[in-house]
Assembly symmetry: none
Homo-oligomer: 194 residues x 2
DNA sequence: ATGGGTGATCTATTATAATAGATCAAAATC
DNA sequence: GATTTTGATCTATTATAATAGATCACCCAT
């Protein structure tokens, strides 16, 4: 069912995920059942303003009525605020896991190879930019396969892999000033799988 | 009953009145019963988002979720847009009535006095500025009393009256331009505490 | 395999928004 | 003074949001 509120639904979902909250966590914060949040995010209900307001507040959002003419300006502001260099919680979690994996790897691998690897990891962590958690997940998979194989060359491959990722991210970070407009962090009309 | 939506209710009512619409007129535009609009404006219901959205659209407003940090900036924009020199519907209606009254007056009064009066009326109409309908109403009352009395001096008094109003409005209009020019756009208190 | 966390999807019940329509008092208008 | 407009307030009916709670499949990690 469509209620003409799909933008709001998508925005709520995006905001929740940007804060790294599960539906259950948001449910506790907003005082709304998880099942209802699910329906809302899937645009299956025409929710009441009080519900919307509660959920929005839990996500640090405010419901406002904006004059037609002011919409582009407001979107511009919203985008610039939303794209602040706050790291995504999911990304943060993946980074933590990578660090754990590297620590585990370090405990039974030669010092020299691991030092290089750890430096690369630190580099990535320092880049305050949005990183796709899936990419980090792949990196971790490689590290895990290394741990099981114990191969020296595999470690070098991993280092190489991460260096490439670092370069990619660094490039994106520097070109972000000019690219910010076509890459809104808050998408108002789309979801993010694809 | 309070639903934490009194801001929205007040804003809707203000927007409706700013457009010079009655609840019934808005009802027709938004496809929502007048009785319901009354309840909404009096904060007697926790309305659904679709209803809010319909009414907002009829009033050229859009429902948006705005990040906490962006609220002051958005309010600033909204204010500046709202104060745009768009003529109020109620004002427009009063101006139309004044014109009708003058026409009626012209049909049985000496040409010379009326010409001057009509020129003054035209001057006022040309000033695209917000005029308090109550002031215009007073002007019309004077014109009406003239029509009943038929006095020459009364016509001159009315002309004088309207000339004063014109000056007042012209002054306000010119000072408004100088106030709008250095409009501080919008500013984000972007402290980047990250 | 197992268990924790995820989000979607059921159930059943209650609360209330939304609707169409009538009525009313008070202004505004004629 | 009579008429119209406006906004608020009723009634009665229907539609559905909100709720609590259980369940399910899916991924992820042990």
């Amino acid at each position: 069912m469509s209620y003409g509120t799909e933008q709001l639904a998508a925005q709520l979902k995006a905001a929740r995920e940007a804060k790294g909250l599960s539906q259950r966590e948001l449910s506790a914060l907003a005082g709304v059942p998880q099942s209802h949040i699910s329906k809302i995010e899937n645009n299956a209900v025409d929710l009441r303003v009080s519900s919307l307001s509660h959920i929005a507040h839990a996500l640090n959002l405010e419901l406002m009525l904006v004059p037609r003419k002011a919409i582009p300006a407001v979107q511009s502001i919203t985008r610039s605020v939303a794209s602040a260099p706050v790291i995504n919680a999911a990304t943060q979690r993946e980074l933590d896991r990578i660090r754990e994996t590297v620590d585990a790897l370090a405990s039974h691998t030669s010092r020299a190879s691991i030092d290089n690897l750890q430096r690369r990891i630190r580099e990535i962590t320092q880049i305050q930019s949005q990183i796709d958690p899936d990419i980090l997940k792949k990196v971790r998979r490689i590290l895990e396969s290394i741990e099981s194989s114990g191969s020296h060359e595999a470690v070098n491959l991993a280092v190489e892999n991460i260096r490439a990722l670092r370069n990619q991210l660094a490039h994106r970070a520097s070109s972000q000033e000019t690219l910010r407009a076509p890459r809104p962090a808050y998408r108002l009309e789309e979801d993010q799988d694809g």
